[in-house]
């Protein structure tokens, strides 16, 4: 009898099965994922998600008998029935009693399971990409990847290449005629036979004895594995080029933005932030919020804090230009910006705002997305003002978001891979 502790065996043995399963139901799961986003709070985006799908592609059919025809069956727990009694069938036509029909377990296509955070986000951001990522430049080398680079004669034991080592060992042992155990056993046998003969031939015995001594000597002096044989895998660390990019998030936090509008805007940026931190680990994110004055803030303040005031959008552009000038020289950085606003702006600021965007900001940017939140009843002044730009500047996009349900489609639209690459 053996008792074996298997608890430390590699985990997630079923990972391969799970990947195959997720791939199989990809389309259904993706729909369910975007459906799930509508119901979630801002802070919950990016946790695991319970998914309900109804899928034909997950069906496992087989030949089995249907419900037609006649059949006999036996049930336990009779309390009152006598022979000849009749029992009405349950309405779903499952056949007498409960469960017998259903226990076959077919016909239930609805399928609920949990996606992990990673799986959820993978599907969530599938096919999304920052457009026009062209200025490739080596920034800092953070994690140089080890690459195989042949073999070496020294190294740590964990890098020992056993195949190479044994190959050398075999070759050397053959070359130096190191005897195997069988050869020695044979020689011993021959010697024993010669000694046991009725009239041992002393010359032959001596010869055999010498041969055995020689073999033993060879076996002792020629090592099975010599330090000379050892070969180790060699790795070289190679720096990988890193693409530099920065994303500016500009958000209007003025009084005209109601709490629900701010939530919408934040939700969009939250998505953007998760997307960037997941797929572009090297991307810098700059948060700028503005009322009548703009300021660069950290992530926490950007998403959590509240402030009120008037609206001067150009102040945000001014701040953005300042930050670019100070920290992100445009010839080295891919610059992106996303702006969210309710469409209201100080009337006097409008002309300056459009000029700045057209002349200063857009030429600096790889891509600029403007999101207008709120019910889009009539065209807002910003929408009217910015609209002409979409025709002139191909990397400028405007979208409208009026409910949480719009966010994912708009986001997907703005960053969809297929459209731009």
């Amino acid at each position: 009898m053996h008792i074996i502790d298997r608890r430390l065996n590699p985990k997630a043995k079923s990972l391969g099965n799970r990947q195959r399963f997720l791939r199989r139901a990809r389309d259904e799961i993706r729909n369910a994922v975007s459906e799930a986003l509508k119901k979630r709070k801002v802070s919950e985006v990016g946790n695991g998600e319970k998914i309900r799908i109804r899928s034909k592609s997950l069906n496992e059919p087989s030949f089995h008998l249907g419900k037609d025809g006649s059949r006999d069956f036996v049930l336990p727990g009779n309390k009152e029935y006598m022979v000849g009694d009749t029992i009405p069938k349950p309405p779903d036509g499952g056949g007498g009693g409960s469960g017998r029909g259903a226990s076959d377990g077919h016909g239930d296509d609805d399928f609920v399971f949990t996606l992990t955070r990673d799986e959820f986000l993978d599907l969530f951001f599938e096919d999304l990409k920052l457009p026009n990522l062209i200025k490739v430049k080596l920034k800092d080398v953070r994690s140089p990847t080890p690459l195989r680079a042949g073999y070496t004669t020294d190294g740590s034991p964990s890098k020992l290449n056993r195949v190479r080592t044994m190959r050398n060992s075999v070759a050397r042992r053959i070359a130096l005629r190191r005897p195997s155990m069988e050869e020695i056993a044979q020689a011993e046998q021959a010697l024993a036979d010669a000694e046991r003969e009725a009239a041992p031939d002393p010359a032959r015995v001596t010869l055999l004895r010498e041969k055995l001594a020689r073999l033993n000597h060879l076996r002792k002096t020629v090592a099975f594995i010599d330090p000379f044989d050892l070969k180790y895998n060699r790795f070289e660390r190679q720096p990988k080029p890193v693409t530099q990019a920065v994303m500016f998030c500009l958000m209007d936090t003025s009084a005209s933005m109601t709490q629900s509008l701010k939530d919408l805007a934040k939700r969009f940026f939250m998505l953007l932030h998760i997307f960037l931190s997941r797929h572009y680990r090297e991307v810098d994110v700059v948060f700028i919020r503005h009322t009548s004055v703009a300021s660069e803030v950290d992530e926490e303040t950007f998403f959590r804090s509240t402030e009120t005031g008037g609206t001067v959008i150009s102040s945000a552009f001014e701040e953005m230009r300042k930050v670019i000038k100070e920290r992100y020289p445009p010839d080295e950085w891919n610059i992106y910006a996303a702006q969210a606003s309710d469409g209201a702006n100080d009337l006097g600021d409008m002309a300056r705002c459009i000029d700045m965007l057209d002349d200063v900001i857009l030429p600096l940017c790889q891509y600029f997305a403007y999101i207008e939140v709120g019910t889009h009843i009539s065209e807002s002044i910003i929408w009217t003002g910015f609209s002409p730009l979409t025709e002139r500047q191909r990397h400028f996009a405007m979208r409208h978001v009026s409910s949480p349900a719009d966010i994912y489609p708009v986001f997907h639209d703005l960053f969809s891979n297929a459209e731009r690459s």
């Binding site: 059919p61 030949f63 249907g66 069938k89 009693g97």
Partner: protein, 519 residues
């Protein structure tokens, strides 16, 4: 509590106290259980291997058909997602154990189990199931415990190689289709090869002639002959071709593996893997009731005997009884929890009843079971039963009126177009045999599975494959699933596939279904 120091027999010290256990406890428990199992019950088992695993590993194991090694397939991932969901929600508790019919017999026990549960599980799986696997005729005849793990290792590696060489999706297509036909991939009746040597043919001819002469009756001459039709000649031609292919063939997967015209070698091998696994699991399907009954009976006996000897504390015996009674719980048919007849409950009830009949039979028992009533050798009788029966025949042979009364079985008849079902037998003198016969049919896989055979394969012409479903009692196949399965079949065959549903009694074709492979 009994405070008198006088004990009739010097009781042994309990092996453990409380719920905690470690590997030494496990070893000590195993040794004691083994003593009772081998000395008292005289069980005959494969060598044991106990493996301690985590809950996740347990889920993993029993969602991939309960084998320690398995090839990769999305359906296992699906079952895993399903099971882990209901496990996390607390809807279902995990199986406490899992046992594999292999030599050595591997039993998995979960780390979360208490010491009592481990004892129960070892008695149940490592001795109960193990004895059954080693001795039951179906397992001996159909499965090879020595080589199954090696075969699985091969299968896993082979599927992996195919995925690398031909792509995951190409492999998946074949496996999906083969899984759909897994139940049609079983040889229920091994064929006796018919020799075609001239000497053998001559001998058969001679024997037949001798038989005809011996049973000659002039009366047969007066029976009118059926006129020979043109269709018959065609039929005969087809039959001749079919005979070369070994038709009719009930093992659809086997036929595809050997004769499907458009499959590549690796695809045939994949089908073969699925077919061999299906065949390996076939005995398990047919002996679920007995297998669980045997294991439950064994653990119940062992736990009681260990308690009598003082090897278990009262606390752990109570825990064991609690576990045991929840396992053998049988809700009534009108209960919300009812999900069919619990094989643990019925199996255990029958086996305890056999023990009772052997030891303290009533007049009724002597009447019903003259062979073994009152023979005093309960274990011997049970062991003979475990070895030589499957669920269906076991019920036919051993289900006693006592058990029928205790479980309050009643038989019903259902016509699909009637609004009501009719009670045809209850637990009374007139009903016992009827109930017993009908219940046995529940467990007869050949009755529960549709009888589908390949009856024609036109290899020289249109290459159409024809299957025939012998419809009994008007029970046609479930339409939707049938269409999908047929589509899978067409995909493997590579040409048109036709399914005829023919009434077994009248020979009338009730329904015809066809499927064409998608390009």
């Amino acid at each position: 509590m009994d405070t008198t120091p006088k004990l009739k027999k010097r009781k042994a010290k309990p092996i453990f106290d409380g719920a905690e256990w470690n590997f030494d406890t496990l070893k000590a428990v195993f040794e004691q259980v083994e003593k009772v199992a081998l000395r008292d019950l005289k069980l005959d088992v494969y060598p044991n291997q106990i493996e301690v695993i985590t809950a996740e590993q347990m889920l993993d194991a029993y969602t991939s058909t309960g084998m320690p090694l398995m090839y990769r397939h999305w359906s296992f991932g699906k079952h895993f997602a399903q099971e882990s969901m209901s496990y996390r929600r607390g809807m279902r508790s995990l199986a406490y154990e899992l046992v594999i019919n292999s030599n050595p017999c591997i039993s998995y026990v979960m780390e979360e189990n208490s010491a009592t549960m481990q004892t129960l599980v070892i008695a149940h799986a490592a001795f109960g199931h193990n004895h059954f696997f080693k001795n039951n005729y179906l397992f001996r005849q159909w499965t090879n415990a020595d080589s199954i793990l090696d075969y699985l290792a091969f299968a896993k590696e082979y599927v992996k190689e195919c995925e690398e060489r031909h792509g995951v999706e190409a492999v998946e297509t074949i496996l999906d289709a083969a899984h759909a036909l897994m139940r049609q991939g079983i040889s229920r009746h091994p064929k006796v090869p018919v020799s075609s040597r001239p000497a053998d043919i001559a001998r058969r001819k001679k024997r037949r002639k001798a038989h005809e002469e011996a049973t000659y009756d002039d009366l047969w001459r007066t029976v009118p002959k059926r006129p020979v039709l043109a269709a018959d000649a065609e039929l005969a031609a087809n039959a001749a071709e079919g005979e070369g292919l070994g038709l009719p063939e009930e093992n659809v997967l086997y036929f595809l593996e050997k004769h499907a015209p458009r499959l590549k070698d690796w695809q045939r091998e994949l089908i073969r893997i699925v077919r061999i696994l299906g065949q390996y699991f076939y005995p398990q399907r047919q002996t679920k009731l007995m297998n669980e009954g045997c294991a439950t009976f064994v653990h119940y006996e062992i736990m009681n005997r260990m308690y009598e000897r003082g090897l278990l504390t009262e606390g752990s015996m109570l825990e064991a009884l609690h576990l045991h009674s929840s396992v053998v719980m049988q809700p009534s048919f009108d209960d919300q929890r009812y999900g069919g007849i619990n094989p643990y409950a019925l199996g255990f009830a029958m086996m305890r009843d056999i023990k009772r009949i052997c030891e303290e039979p009533t007049a009724e028992d002597k009447d019903w079971f003259p062979d073994f009533a009152g023979n005093g050798d309960a274990i011997g009788t049970l062991k003979a039963g475990w070895a030589d029966y499957r669920d269906e025949s076991f019920i036919l042979q051993f289900l006693s009126p006592t058990v029928i009364r205790d479980m309050r079985f009643f038989a019903l008849h259902d016509e699909s177009d009637e609004p009501e079902v009719e009670v045809t037998a209850i637990h009374n003198e007139m009903g016992y045999r009827d109930i017993r016969r009908r219940l046995a049919r529940h467990y007869d896989a050949s009755v529960q599975d549709p009888d589908i055979r390949i009856t024609d394969a036109d290899l020289s012409g249109t290459r159409r494959l024809t299957l025939t479903h012998n419809v009994r009692d008007g029970r046609l196949l479930g339409k939707q699933e049938c269409d999908r399965t047929l589509q899978h079949l067409a995909q493997l065959w590579g040409h048109r596939v036709k399914l005829l549903e023919v009434d077994a009694g009248t020979g009338k074709t009730l329904r015809e279904l066809e499927a064409l492979p998608l390009p």
